[in-house]
Assembly symmetry: C2
Homo-oligomer: 195 residues x 2
DNA sequence: CGTCTATTTGAATGTACTCAAAAGCGGTGG
DNA sequence: CCACCGCTTTTGAGTACATTCAAATAGACG
């Protein structure tokens, strides 16, 4: 696995010197998952920050009734972590699981802290990461408050272009907060609207 | 207006030296609002970071149909800003308005940058602010995906204790993503369940 | 080919909204 | 002090959005 994607992901935000790049990449541990493999289970301590190089992960929560909800999908070029568990060493509320066979890098908490101490650019990068994440989550909340399921589905298709062809409708429904049956009905309605 | 609340809000996360406190407070500008006054209108550039000393603000979005959605309430001891607009000088998507007569401090973007450059503790503070904000927003998304309106109302009462006595049901409904009529019905149902 | 899971379909149900009207409540001015 | 105004809350009937449950169909994988 090469480092091009993860390095360009960071340097798009803030430049890194060659020495910093070498130092950072020496701390990364590569990993692979098969579809349905677990990366983090509910109740685990999330000890790594993950970067997806290829494939797709889901971050989920399943309630008492057994209904799964998807917080986010992480495809290639996305970072993913259970932040609360990672920062505070608390049992994770969410689980992270592979939706497709996935290649990833992981960075342990101690190495995460290390790069932030040694390389100021990483502080800037992480700041922007969480700030942008905050902004994106606010947008999602507004959408779930003010849009119908049909409109949210349309937004999903724009936000994750092509992803609807890669993952099951059951998962898309779990992301939108509706049942798979209802999503199926919406898609049927859309199909007939353009015939 | 005194600085006790805002200083304790920060030093709860990270200690500040007396000189740093003086420097920081010298950059704060106090302000007051009457109920229904605007702090930021949709389309404005959000040029300040705000801290509520007393009273209550709402951060909202109103869609084409005229339905208002509440992103968050900021009561005493809360910070509030339209982050995207503030950081990137873009027209704000949200508006911020007083729900009660409100006393606040504002910190301009240039002074915000200044304190972050001069006082490392502020970098730490802001990091934690956005990280914790991110964690809280994820929780809210999970709730809106997996809970009924009734359950979300119950969570609201726990998360903002006493606030239901201070603001209108119309606003609580806009926070929960339901109509005021439906919230009224839920409350009636609750009342009769305990009689 | 058989098994397992995902998707589709349909009927019945429940959750939440719309619209309209009435009642309550707080502030303001006469 | 009271009458009125504007806004919020309540109530109810009808409707729309979304779920549940069950069964049939289609796809994916060993």
């Amino acid at each position: 696995m090469n480092f091009d994607l993860i390095i360009s992901n960071i340097t798009r935000h803030t430049p890194l010197e060659p020495g910093e790049i070498n130092f950072f990449t020496s701390l990364l541990e590569p990993g692979q998952l098969l579809r349905k493999d677990w990366l983090v289970r509910t109740g685990d301590i999330c000890r790594y920050d993950y970067f997806v190089n290829k494939g797709c992960l889901k971050v989920c929560y399943t309630n008492e009734k057994g209904t799964e909800s998807v917080i986010k999908f992480a495809t290639e070029n996305w970072w993913v972590v259970d932040l609360d568990s990672f920062l505070n060493h608390t049992p994770s509320f969410y689980y992270i699981q592979a939706v497709e066979d996935t290649d990833y890098f992981q960075l342990s908490k101690s190495n995460y802290d290390l790069v932030h101490r040694k390389i100021p650019a990483f502080q800037k990068f992480s700041n922007e990461r969480w700030q942008n994440g905050f902004i994106a989550l606010q947008q999602r909340i507004i959408q779930s408050l003010s849009l119908t399921a049909e409109e949210r589905y349309s937004h999903f298709l724009n936000k994750y272009p092509g992803l609807d062809q890669r993952i099951s409708q059951r998962l898309i429904a779990a992301y939108l907060g509706i049942t798979p049956e209802f999503l199926s009905m919406l898609r049927k309605k859309w199909a007939t609207e353009f015939s």
